[in-house]
Assembly symmetry: D2
Amino acid sequence: MKIIFMLFTPLKKDILKKLVDTAINASNNAFHPITPKGVGAAVLTTEDEIFQGCNVQTTISGLGVCAEQCAIYHAVAQGKYDYKAIAVYFPSEKFIKPCGMCLQLISEFSQVINKDIIIVMINNKRKIKFTTVNKELKGAYGPLVAGKDITMYKKNK
Amino acid sequence: MKIIFMLFTPLKKDILKKLVDTAINASNNAFHPITPKGVGAAVLTTEDEIFQGCNVQTTISGLGVCAEQCAIYHAVAQGKYDYKAIAVYFPSEKFIKPCGMCLQLISEFSQVINKDIIIVMINNKRKIKFTTVNKELKGAYGPLVAGKDITMYKKNK
Amino acid sequence: MKIIFMLFTPLKKDILKKLVDTAINASNNAFHPITPKGVGAAVLTTEDEIFQGCNVQTTISGLGVCAEQCAIYHAVAQGKYDYKAIAVYFPSEKFIKPCGMCLQLISEFSQVINKDIIIVMINNKRKIKFTTVNKELKGAYGPLVAGKDITMYKKNK
Amino acid sequence: MKIIFMLFTPLKKDILKKLVDTAINASNNAFHPITPKGVGAAVLTTEDEIFQGCNVQTTISGLGVCAEQCAIYHAVAQGKYDYKAIAVYFPSEKFIKPCGMCLQLISEFSQVINKDIIIVMINNKRKIKFTTVNKELKGAYGPLVAGKDITMYKKNK
């Protein structure tokens, strides 16, 4: 693993390595009958738990999830709502950012704890690049703007 | 747990109990800032593994998942594609069937192994009622109709 | 146009012909960079207005719509919520039913006026087959079950 | 209508006024049984045609569209794929940007003609603010990155 573009990150090296490995391995579980590539992701909670995800495609345009969404749904299924970082492995040399739909979902959860969430992009050489959800989707709509009370989700289950 | 309407089911009593308990417990993890009710689900693989899910709501109409979808994405994240049954707990006295969107997703996976999938509905009295995806969504569109090769997913990872 | 399977239908012959023609023509507008086939649909309001739709695909699994959904969103954009029928043209010899996700959307609107909605399936020979949303998605969840007040939508705008 | 924050815009004053009026009026057509607010949008093609949209909500978390998506699906239903601008009216004093999911859809279509698309935000005082999809969702994934041939959509139908 070689970090080629480093912003500030509070992720510890061993945690980051585990997060990256999990995202890469998760891509093998992808269900992708429509396109040739499996994508993997892994979300890191504020308690350093990791939940993996992969893309899930169907024959219906509006039904299915990207790997990042899958990882978040996996974490929520386990009662975890506060995330420090999310890593996404896309098997191309070019670094691929989460799509707008994934950024929106990540942003909704960043509003639960009202803190930015680090995004770790991993390419097919295992190189990584950092960004954050607030950098990629500035001033996003979400529960805070909509006036929804989400304080009860601040504490994981 | 009291079964009030019994079709044929090949689920063993202890497995069924565990599936139902998992679905009910999973409802506590629901992320539902929009509506008052948490819904839980649990999918049972052909190898008797269970993966739970819950509804996840956002402030965006087209973004979020029902509990059944969440449970399936959770299972796929772990490399499991062949399901025998899915249970859904909805906290009302009336039994609630999976919505059409969930039925479509369940159906797509039933086409992986080309077998029907049992649906277990659980109400707020812990009573249960059975149906199947093929009964609820007859002749559904999906990978088989679309001519997609999904044979590689017949074997779990 | 040859009707090969006739249930009861209250659609007048000329209206039906126009609905079918509109659905077929709309398939030419489909935006489908992912799969080779364009699908068309057309929704008929209780006032005999017709709104067309087509499938819209994106590179993101959960983003995009089937033709039926597109037609409904088109009609709602014009302030029309009460539908008598929806036709869908799928360019294959086999008749293709609306997917579960489309059935759910059609069902939500059938609950606005609390009446069944006729579904007209059209194949690549311009043959047609009838069904209804209540037949295909029995006892569907929706605004009535969820206790949402939708009486204000009974009157088109 | 008072423009309070002006970036460069190539929109002519009369076209902009019509676009803004259409978006505001479209909000009256919104189908929103879940939340109290109707949102309106209008997309402007490169040939100065305008297609309106509004938010459409269902009782299912992943089913429904924001006003911007509705406007685009409306335009595609009519065979129009190349957009110069999209306006969105949100009935609050705060200016609301399109959500990440909408930005992704707008971005997919910006890749058809490989040009940026202007976003016009309108608040409840009829004030407007400009941005663009490339500013809000930089380097977005989409058909160009995915290597999909979309040249056929460059010409409207």
